[in-house]
Symmetry: D2
Subunit: 313 residues, 4 copies
Amino acid sequence: MLKEEQKRTGIKLLWGTANLFSNPRFVHGAGTSCNADVFAFAAAQIKQAMEVTHELGGEGYTFWGGREGYMTLLNTDMKRELDHFAKLLHLAVAYKKQIGFKGQFYIEPKPKEPTKHQYDYDAAACLNFLREYDLLPHFKLNIETNHATLAGHTMQHELEVASAANALGSIDANTGDELLGWDTDQFPTNIYLTTYTMLAILKYGGLTTGGVNFDAKVRRESFEPVDLFYAHIGGMDAFARGLKIAAAIRKDGRLADFVKQRYASWDSGIGAKIESGKASLKEIEAYILKKGEVTPNTSGRQEFLENLINEFI
Amino acid sequence: MLKEEQKRTGIKLLWGTANLFSNPRFVHGAGTSCNADVFAFAAAQIKQAMEVTHELGGEGYTFWGGREGYMTLLNTDMKRELDHFAKLLHLAVAYKKQIGFKGQFYIEPKPKEPTKHQYDYDAAACLNFLREYDLLPHFKLNIETNHATLAGHTMQHELEVASAANALGSIDANTGDELLGWDTDQFPTNIYLTTYTMLAILKYGGLTTGGVNFDAKVRRESFEPVDLFYAHIGGMDAFARGLKIAAAIRKDGRLADFVKQRYASWDSGIGAKIESGKASLKEIEAYILKKGEVTPNTSGRQEFLENLINEFI
Amino acid sequence: MLKEEQKRTGIKLLWGTANLFSNPRFVHGAGTSCNADVFAFAAAQIKQAMEVTHELGGEGYTFWGGREGYMTLLNTDMKRELDHFAKLLHLAVAYKKQIGFKGQFYIEPKPKEPTKHQYDYDAAACLNFLREYDLLPHFKLNIETNHATLAGHTMQHELEVASAANALGSIDANTGDELLGWDTDQFPTNIYLTTYTMLAILKYGGLTTGGVNFDAKVRRESFEPVDLFYAHIGGMDAFARGLKIAAAIRKDGRLADFVKQRYASWDSGIGAKIESGKASLKEIEAYILKKGEVTPNTSGRQEFLENLINEFI
Amino acid sequence: MLKEEQKRTGIKLLWGTANLFSNPRFVHGAGTSCNADVFAFAAAQIKQAMEVTHELGGEGYTFWGGREGYMTLLNTDMKRELDHFAKLLHLAVAYKKQIGFKGQFYIEPKPKEPTKHQYDYDAAACLNFLREYDLLPHFKLNIETNHATLAGHTMQHELEVASAANALGSIDANTGDELLGWDTDQFPTNIYLTTYTMLAILKYGGLTTGGVNFDAKVRRESFEPVDLFYAHIGGMDAFARGLKIAAAIRKDGRLADFVKQRYASWDSGIGAKIESGKASLKEIEAYILKKGEVTPNTSGRQEFLENLINEFI
């Protein structure tokens, strides 16, 4: 039925996923459950969801660790649970190859809630896990604003961390409230946020496989149908404005030039030598002993740069 | 002079380090400075501090990223800074070999302060960095309670993450105030904290290279010499009690047995097959289709386990 | 039926309340709803709940502001909402007199969740509201540990603030997780927490009207009946130990003596004169000009006092 | 000398204050010190600072409770300290009358740092204190953005709380970083913040006695003189834009109309009767029993209102 509707409307599938957290069987996790049968159940669900996604021409598949974490370390064998989770992802990688599914795999950082600690805490924790278990070639990250701030980071930070590892895959654009400690999943309306998000995405050449997804909901108090309209339009407009502003900042060039110039000492002389790996510790010491004291001659110019951004808001 | 004093007193050196954050030259970082000369200055300091540590028979050397991070992403090339930091550590690794220094290298997770973001945010971020740059074989982590909680984690969590990667090296035992958002560096007096810390350390066979270090200070209001006495005695007593309690809990055995039993389904049958990598996604699906619905038959028993700990407090 | 059961078992009613937050009609609040009819509905519920409480011999009545707050200030007339809430409480005070109900009225501080901001944020906010609207003579506070920490305070702090205003009424003993930003409502098992709670309660002569109430739930993962047993026993034991420890600390006397001695300069001389209101600013100036520089001669001894508490844990 | 400079330049004095926190004598507080002589010293400083302020034609005087709080409740008699602090303020009120100083008195909410808890925690805590000690007629609040967020509130919230009590006096416009837990005192550049601030100020008729003060500093990394220029210009521009946007929103009228309309049920019928105090609980019950179930017929429209604000950004 979904396939027919896709044909009729021309709408394509961004990515598929399996819900491995709502059913009570997943109370102790899915891939990280202490119960091997629960793991097996989750694995079977993933297999079928991957097949459906493949059939519908999905461009990706997301593993969302909704309950992959712990409530208390007292009852938890963290290492064993992480081994199992990696095993599950490797099984999916193997099956993907088997059925010829070419879509991108994603995992999504989230620090907590409903668990006390989710193993996919933030981008760095996800990357560490993927590297440890040789999964990084097969996965990219799906970054969510609200999860970023719950982990103590800005969205921009998480995008940079993912991009620096060549692992930025997709975005959940729902935002949170920095003064609240739970996942509010609000529609994004802050122009600074959308500008910084688009600056990061454009800087790394855009999202090549994923998209910008509203995993958001209207407030509980916004219970009329028209609120869905206001929410989606508002969110899309905010991102459209962010994109235009980011493009204008990039065209202007001053921001990127400032950053490039700030590291100019690395482009030649001792800097270039160090970067290229041609200077030993001994040579570097000799260089600096000859040169003497070093003073940082330039300010970080944070206030100037914040004003520059405001020129474009 | 230090060497003579060591000879006279028999006191040994746990680890050496270089201060790469107090001098204004490090205002933009040391190994991650935008200024290549500042990097060179830091490298030279490290070289000399390593030589001194080696000369004094130090059992380790700690790289503390006091200003390795950023104040604003607007002026920061995060990837280039991290490349430089990795370069600095590789230079140290090479020099260590050269001079025959056998001590353990440490880095210490810290999420923020004075910077908005420290690259060594938490244990997972450090491990991710060490893995990315092939530095993990050469480094272990020095975990600090106060930094753990500032990053949103319990000390116990950070110890588990480090230990699971075989990278727990040493401990800064100073604690913080979970309701305050800065590094208070208080002496540890909470028996739960010291018990959980010792449980984690004993579980992984103890600290093999490092130690338990008070990187703590008395409160500003505790300005009399006797306060130093109360603080150190109190901290040591707290750790001594934590060690005794942890040892008693381990001797009792119920806690470890509970955790082992909780994962029993992984020790045979489908669990063992999955763990050993002998089950494909297809076989797992067949198994669970035959078995049918899975219900998690056992509670997580958090309340029981918390009571069990209280038996020993 | 309840009355008959009370007679049969001898169990008495601590306090009654009305649920003014679960039904969708209260989506914008009850006493603070923008809809006057919703206020009227809530008022009628309160009237009937008070009658039932009176009939059952209840010793108090609690107004829990489950949704009395706002989701966004953009749509909120805070002053008008607070006026309405005060009106509701005054109506209840008048009706209480009318029906001869002698029980104590309580309100319960809570900072947020489900709303972005609850008007009963913390003890100070509640007291400010009660004072502004001349309600303080009629109300005491029901303090909850979890709400205290969500507002950035220790439980001990909230108990002190309430007690200093002679408004400590009752306690919800459920605790939270200081690293999580939502209301976890866990059973209390931390002996430090129960000790500090009991120290505060004993210091002010005990709870005269209320009690210690477990508004707690077992963890979602603790779904077996026996978990309820472990949770309640563990919580009661923790409070029993806290009470014994607090009593021992009071019998020992050193803690109270230390505090008394710390303020000794206020018991005579210029201190006593200032406290009694007999010194003008001019006289105080003359005193200090004659005396000259003042140095705080005593440390705050925080480390000593923390050790002292540990002697009794 | 200051007076001559004032004459020469025409610059007037907004307010005066005394520094009662930097000198080590104030380690345990000033008005709340455990040492009566320290209180006397502080009182004398205040007397002289008031005289100077009066002499220079100051329009106000600010009491900043830089260390009026506690580091640990273990050594603190909170009630006695608050009594002393109130005494100090009453002494100042009396002396103000004596010397004929007509300026406005201010206190400034701040939740913590350097202390664990400052007594002037937030606007509500300050108002509660002022009400308890009959000081409210003599004081207004000086609200700081950074202190608002450290206390878990938005700036807009604190402005509303102060204004609702007719106690909004002045503003410290320095902002913080919502992801950091200490006082960063940054210059304000966020247009949303300045818009919301100006909306609140205009709504209550503007600041009648105080002003908008930059108690801000450039970042430590912004150490060149020109950074001071960028910072001040950026902050002023941000407030100018916020003022223009707020004025446009007010002229447009939709926001205020929406809020007014939302409470329309209180302007007539049962709502008006309740507001005017003419309805008893019994009558209200009769009304609602006749009316039956109430459904909240209107959404809170948060998304619509956020979009509306964005129209003007």
